[in-house]
């Protein structure tokens, strides 16, 4: 094998001359982080709402929430992304669609990617929230009601604080997933980490270095998130439950 390793390629200015190849990598990393974190915030809020709705006594509301979860769980992420990016702008009212199409291309890609990742992940978060709520003893809800709380108050002060503490480990893995899933967004041309890796291969003719660097970056994200979440998990763990203190 006569491959010429050249790690210093990352310090060379790019062909376009805007920055170094390392600069491209960092731009990609930044995009991946921004996309994943903003989508995660939405997913967490939306997932909490849908998860709660799945457990309420009202049949209509819980039915709608179930339909939401099933819809987003049974269509591949890539298909959902293409629907958000290519289909939705055609189906929304024309003024909105036009405004979208006239905005900056990167903004278009980012918005489609963020909404897609957020809704996709929210369905998964909702499932965890529901199982967290369902795993609580029924007495908790009844005790809350007996004390004169309204049902929304019971959720807010009794059920949700406990449920969220119980579902921290599965939420961590969903959080890790959102970073990995964000790589799918390279398919619509969003220049996040995976897309930058591909671009580096094309421009530098140093495929091994480029891909190794991007892979290491993903592993690093994984390790950092896991370490931080482990700290948080330890902090909020409920004594007396499996894995509790």
């Amino acid at each position: 094998m006569n491959y010429q390793w050249n790690w210093s390629i990352f310090l060379q200015p790019t062909v376009v001359g805007d920055t170094t190849y390392l600069g491209w990598m960092f731009a990609g990393l930044q995009m991946t982080l921004m996309l994943s974190l903003s989508a995660w915030v939405i997913a967490l809020l939306l997932g909490a709402v849908v998860g709660v709705l799945r457990t309420v006594p009202n049949k209509l509301l819980s039915g709608l929430a179930t339909a939401y979860v099933e819809l987003f769980r049974n269509i591949p992420l890539l298909v959902q992304l293409f629907i958000w990016y290519f289909v939705m702008p055609e189906l929304v009212p024309q003024s909105l669609g036009d405004a979208y199409k006239q905005s900056h291309p990167v903004l278009q890609q980012f918005l489609a990617a963020m909404v897609c990742l957020a809704l996709f992940t929210s369905a998964r978060v909702a499932e965890q929230v529901r199982s967290g709520i369902n795993s609580l003893p029924r007495g908790q809800k009844n005790a809350g009601l007996a004390l004169g709380f309204t049902l929304p108050q019971v959720y807010r002060h009794v059920l949700l604080p406990m449920a969220f503490r119980l579902i921290m480990p599965p939420l961590t893995s969903e959080f890790l997933n959102i970073f990995k899933n964000s790589a799918v967004c390279s398919t619509i041309g969003l220049l996040e980490l995976a897309a930058q890796g591909r671009q580096l291969v094309d421009y530098t003719a140093q495929p091994y270095e480029s891909f190794i660097a991007v892979t290491v970056a993903y592993v690093a994200i994984n390790v950092v998130v896991m370490t931080l979440m482990k700290k948080l998990e330890d902090k909020v763990r409920v004594p007396g439950y499996m894995g509790g203190k």
Binding site: P76, V79, F86, V87, K180, T187, G197, F211, Y218
Partner: protein
Amino acid sequence: MVYEFDWSSIPGALPILWDGMAVSLEITLIAIVVGIVWGTLLAMMRLSSIKPLSLFAAGYVNLFRAIPLVMVLLWFFLIVPRFIADLFGLPPNTDLRLASAMIGFALFESAYYSEIIRAGIQSVPKGQMAACQALGMTYGQAMRLVILPQAFRNMVPLLLTQAIILFQDTSLVYVSALADFFGAAYKVGDRDGRLVELLLFAGLVYFVLCFAASMLVKHLQKKYQPA
């Protein structure tokens, strides 16, 4: 103006779409078989008392679970074929890319299967292994005849759910230009200028298949729930 749907390009494209679906199902099947066989071996290595083996399995599983499937597919589509061609001095026109992408997909999914199988093996009470050894069975015999059959029975619902996820994952081979169902739908939509209809149609087909499969899994789970 409201968007005017025109579904007329779908009926004529059904043969292409069907071929694409056949590719998707083929990849799914190969990945499930490889995933379960290689995943079982990985799980056994991980639980083995031989340190290098368990370290290798742990490293393999953690690495594949830390990187996105898209990256794995790109590795196996762009880099690995080049590496193999360089290594063995193959003529530059040998196209290993598709086979390589398929292998990459299967290796990736094996990591997830191995975690399910490991949990399944660990769910079998320890006394079973002790009993096997007391009866004079070797480790291999005990695994094959006693532990794994019980472990797999416990795992069936999880393995099937993972199969549904895997089927959805196959759409990502789009990045490697394998003509699966989604790739075919996109190509037809792009060709006829009917991307909206074809993408919605693809979404609907995936939804119906995956939803039906997940209902079936739930049904089986209820029916065969261990008492």
